[in-house]
């Protein structure tokens, strides 16, 4: 590792930590070819959301009136989706999310490592770690009172881990009937940007089956090993939870100021979260870092809405609400004024950030269900371990275009059905195969029931039947693929993304 590489690395790290000031350093610049079409790279950048809002509208306007570009967009979407699936298939470790209860422990370990400079599991280091971090906090470099609390927790942890070990050897393995996995498979999007799900959820009950893989072929010899390992893991996890709870009690006792006050959330929900010591909502009142929290609910039912996307124009902030409808806005530029809430099946809501930060009267953001909701282009990567379906819908010039995309869990090949002129009485569609583009099959749809469409088509040696039922806010799809003697079924609610399509 040369000194030059070190310097390059360091400067890149520093640069990465800043947010670009100049537009050309933040956004992709659209390029148009001689015939006035957006270049391929520009189309991809547009789908990736890397254009300025005004250039994005320009491209969108052009694409909706240009057949060539619409085809480019469709092709680009196919490649983006296919490569996302290939990436997910390539990853052989199960998607990991550090369970909520474990975050404190892991974070504490980080602090201990940073302070002690070495990982040492013996009990004798506990005193040393504590005194070191005590010195550190008085130096003034790290002002958070949590530091002291966490350091205290480390002491308990180290002591606690010995306890865990003893417990483990003492008790026998549990019955193989336990079906849970420790690494709860939370949906990926929760942990990417913005908010992660509340750690105090029911994630730790053993009966919460994470993706139960019942449709995979099982091997008897392996099952016993898996069951035994899971039993062990579960035992360890329970002990861990006990240790965490213990240490957090210690934190609270030793540093009562440690948990930041929560101003916006309703008291009841906050109390629940405090049991595990975490509070998603934090309010920091400084000029440089603004953090605002809130909750989104369905205007009709008042139920919390998860998977709502948040966008703040002019900033890199992107977020989503967790399953309880909560969101956190942070690191907003000081000139940010509005935040947009988007979710398929609902009309876009734009809210003044100023009103969100009104802590005197916290109000939920209410979104109204609307079947024909969005016309802007939003892309998602639909990655999952079970058959996924997504429906894109756009209402343009009184014409509805919907796309249904589905793929088998064991194959990255995406099949897309494009429905045109979906209305209560008729629909026609095309089936595209990605990435083997070029195979386009017409589908005939009939509409046997109001707001439901059903159709079938044959492609290659597979027969595909699809039925889509439109409810108020939900869209349900049932897709069956008959191939030889195999029948595969995908049955899912929609992750509906607004897409732009063309209607004749």
């Amino acid at each position: 590792m040369s000194h030059r590489d070190d310097t390059a690395n360091n400067s890149r790290e520093e640069q990465a930590g800043d947010i670009p000031m100049i537009e050309s350093e933040m956004y992709f610049r659209v390029e148009w070819d001689a015939e006035g079409h957006a270049t391929e790279d520009s189309v991809y950048a547009w789908l990736d959301g890397a254009l300025t809002p005004s250039e994005s509208s320009l491209v969108e306007a052009h694409v909706s009136g240009c057949e060539t570009c619409a085809a480019s967009v469709a092709e680009a979407r196919g490649f983006i989706a296919a490569s996302a699936r290939i990436l997910s298939v390539a990853e052989y470790v199960p998607q990991r999310v550090v369970p909520g209860a474990d975050v404190a422990r892991s974070a504490a370990r980080i602090v201990a490592l940073a302070n002690a400079g070495a990982e040492d599991k013996s009990g004798t280091t506990s005193a040393r770690v504590q005194s070191r971090s005590g010195k550190r906090s008085t130096k003034g470099g790290f002002r958070s009172p949590i530091a002291v609390g966490i350091a205290a927790a480390v002491v308990v942890m180290i002591g606690g881990s010995l306890l865990v070990l003893r417990e483990r050897t003492a008790s026998p393995a549990r019955t193989p009937a336990i079906a849970s996995t420790v690494a709860a498979s939370a949906p990926r999007k929760d942990s990417i940007t913005g908010v992660t799900g509340s750690p105090s959820k029911d994630a730790r009950t053993p009966s919460t089956a994470a993706a139960t893989k019942s449709d995979r072929p099982s091997r008897p010899k392996h099952n016993a090993t898996i069951a035994a390992r899971r039993a062990e893991e579960e035992l360890r996890e329970r002990a861990r939870i006990a240790v965490v709870a213990e240490s957090l009690a210690l934190i609270r006792r030793s540093a009562p100021q440690a948990m930041p006050a929560v101003a916006i959330q309703a008291p009841a929900s906050v109390q629940q979260e405090q049991k595990l010591g975490f509070s998603v909502a934090t309010v920091a009142a400084t000029d440089t870092v603004r953090e605002i929290t809130g909750r989104v609910v369905d205007a009709g039912t008042s139920e919390p809405l998860g998977a709502v996307q948040l966008l703040v124009a002019g900033s890199t902030f992107r977020g989503t609400t967790d399953n309880a409808g909560r969101f956190v806005l942070r690191d907003l530029p000081s000139n940010a004024q509005k935040v947009q809430f988007r979710r398929i099946g609902y009309a876009i809501v734009e809210v003044d950030i100023a009103s969100l930060s009104n802590t005197n009267r916290p109000q939920d953001v209410r979104m109204s269900a609307s079947v024909l909701a969005l016309s802007a282009v939003v892309t998602t990567s639909t990655v999952g371990t079970s058959p996924t379906t997504s429906l894109r819908q756009n209402d343009e010039r009184e014409c509805t275009t919907a796309e249904v995309e589905f793929a088998r869990s064991d194959s990255p090949i995406v099949r897309r059905i494009v429905l045109q002129r979906v209305s209560k009485s008729s629909a026609q569609g095309l089936l595209h195969d990605w990435p083997r583009s070029g195979v386009i099959t017409p589908i005939v749809f009939s509409t046997p029931a109001p707001r439901a469409i059903r159709g079938a088509t044959t492609t290659g040696d597979a027969r595909i039947e699809i039925s889509i039922t439109m409810r108020d806010a939900d869209w349900l799809a049932d897709i069956r693929e008959y191939s030889g003697s195999n029948v595969r079924a995908a049955n899912a609610r929609f992750v509906v993304v607004a897409g732009s399509g063309r209607c004749d």
Binding site: M1, P20, F28, E40, A45, I86, L87, V93, V103, D331
Partner: protein, 173 residues
């Protein structure tokens, strides 16, 4: 940086996933992830934490790979072979294992830089964040991602095709 718990909660999973994809070694990935967060803890606060974390992680990957070329060759060799022992999850069917190794092979056909860009994009990083992490312009990130995606998909297709020509009974697509 302040509030290491929040940082951890928000970014630990994506960083571990990113590192696992880069290294194909879950244990090393966890180790480097830990190192990333230790550095974050020591560092002063930055405006764009995600980009910073991924940049540090990418640099750590480069260092790790460079530092032990022998280990890297060993890793590459392991994953060139279709061995079940290299996979931690016992829950994968033979067909899934095959898809996984084909996908990994397809990913190896693009350069390390292109691959890093692709992995970061997968974790939701914006163009400018990828640009900063890899020392590229935003425009270059765009062209890189387009090229990388097409190449990976086309090469994967090709692998699927040649597999189905070779051993027709196994591939059902």
């Amino acid at each position: 940086m302040q509030d290491i718990e929040r940082l951890f909660r928000d970014y630990h999973a994506p960083i571990v996933r990113y590192l696992t994809r880069q290294l194909n070694d879950a244990d090393l990935a966890e180790e480097l992830a830990q190192e990333t967060f230790v550095r974050a803890y020591r560092h002063e606060p930055v405006k764009n934490e995600r980009a910073w974390l991924f940049t540090v992680a990418t640099n750590l990957v480069r260092d790790a790979v460079r530092r032990d070329a022998r280990q890297r060759a060993h890793l590459l060799r392991l994953h060139a072979e279709h061995q079940e022992t290299e996979f931690e999850s016992e829950e994968m069917s033979p067909e899934q294992l095959r898809q996984t190794s084909m996908a990994q092979a397809a990913l190896r056909t693009i350069s390390e830089r292109d691959r890093s860009a692709l992995f970061m994009s997968q974790e939701g990083l914006d163009y400018h964040e990828i640009a900063a992490a890899l020392g590229l312009s935003v425009q270059s990130v765009g062209t890189t991602l387009t090229r990388a995606r097409k190449k990976v998909v086309q090469n994967f297709e090709q692998l699927v095709r040649s597999e189905s020509e070779r051993g027709g009974a196994h591939v059902a697509s």
